[in-house]
């Protein structure tokens, strides 16, 4: 395994692991907590989180890992005979589909719909309940996909 693939895979372990932990936080307790407080406060808190999360720290990890994965697909195919290539390819595809495509198709439209809600509106509470249950269910999938990608990259380093 040459230095380029090793460096790429090492950074991919770090990126996918951090992203998995971020989504894990929302899956295990953040959304549950926000669902249990009064709806106007839950909506306001989630709206604020969705705005502040678009910062270089999160996007650097989330999008940066996607860039590494895109490179991972190319490099693993070009150097297929190198040890660990199959795991690098698998991890990259799992992250790109399970995290990036899913976020684009599922979470972003829902976040946009949430941003348009007025927290104090009477019918916002009902839409908030629906938002929490579907958003969280699909967030479990993002968590599992990014954790699986991190494991595959780790195994690739050891192969």
């Amino acid at each position: 395994m040459d230095a380029l693939i090793v460096t790429l895979t090492l950074l991919a372990v770090l990126g996918a692991g951090l992203v998995a932990g971020v989504f894990f936080a929302f899956s295990t307790f953040v959304m549950r907590a926000l669902a249990q407080i009064p709806a106007p406060q839950g909506i306001a808190a989630m709206q604020a989180i969705n705005v502040t999360v678009l910062n270089p720290w999160f996007l650097g990890a989330f999008v940066g890992t996607a860039v590494l994965c895109a490179a991972g697909v190319v490099v693993s195919l070009v150097r297929w005979s190198e040890p660990g290539s199959v795991y690098l390819l698998a991890g990259s595809v799992v992250y790109l589909v399970g995290c990036i495509v899913q976020t684009r198709v599922f979470h972003i439209p829902r976040n946009n719909a949430l941003a348009a809600l007025d927290p104090s509106d009477a019918d916002s509470a009902q839409r908030w309940t629906w938002f929490v249950s579907t958003w969280t269910a699909w967030n479990h999938v993002r968590t599992a996909a990014s954790a699986a990608a991190a494991v595959l990259f780790a195994v690739s380093l050891l192969d």
């Binding site: 989504f23 989180i49 720290w57 991190a150």
Partner: protein, 170 residues
């Protein structure tokens, strides 16, 4: 023995990485988001989070990271496995620091916030928030840095162990 040794090192790295990402989520999205909300929302969300966070999967991973890293160190004591050992030990020490900061600083602050009671019955919401927010965030950033560094060390341990597995030396 070799598959077990590999599995334990991967488990230690990923568990530590998930905890690092979880702390990272607080530091970069949850806390800045809540920081923009009013005192009542901040206190209610923080109290409720602290209540639901205890137990379950989080606890398994929080402790699992410590246990798996210790076990990984024990499995790399052999003379032919030592190349990865310094990075595993460094990862263990840094994660232990995260653990100690959590138990020694963040948990007591959480308990104090819980003791303030229902936000609807708190007379001076701003004072309760002031006593909690700044020190909690400061300690949180300290434990996040230690945890991310621990994750980095364990990833380097994987790299060293991998090189050894391929017979490429250290």
């Amino acid at each position: 023995m070799e598959p077990l040794r590999r599995a334990v090192l991967v488990a230690a790295t990923i568990a530590t990485g998930m905890m690092a990402g979880l702390c990272y989520a607080y530091a970069i999205s949850f806390l800045p988001g809540l920081g923009r909300t009013d005192d009542r929302t901040f206190i209610a969300a923080m109290q409720q989070t602290n209540e639901v966070i205890e137990g379950g999967w989080l606890f398994v991973i929080f402790l699992g990271a410590l246990v798996f890293t210790a076990l990984a160190a024990a499995l790399h004591l052999g003379a032919d496995r030592r190349a990865a050992l310094p990075w595993i030990v460094a990862g263990f020490v840094l994660y232990a620091a995260t653990f100690v900061i959590t138990v020694g600083a963040n948990v007591p602050l959480n308990e104090e916030l819980a003791a303030a009671g229902d936000p609807d019955r708190i007379a001076d919401l701003a004072a309760v928030r002031d006593r909690f927010e700044a020190p909690w965030v400061r300690w949180h950033i300290a434990r996040t840095v230690a945890n991310v560094a621990a994750f980095g060390c364990l990833s380097l341990a994987l790299l060293r162990a991998g090189r050894m597995n391929r017979g490429a030396g250290i």
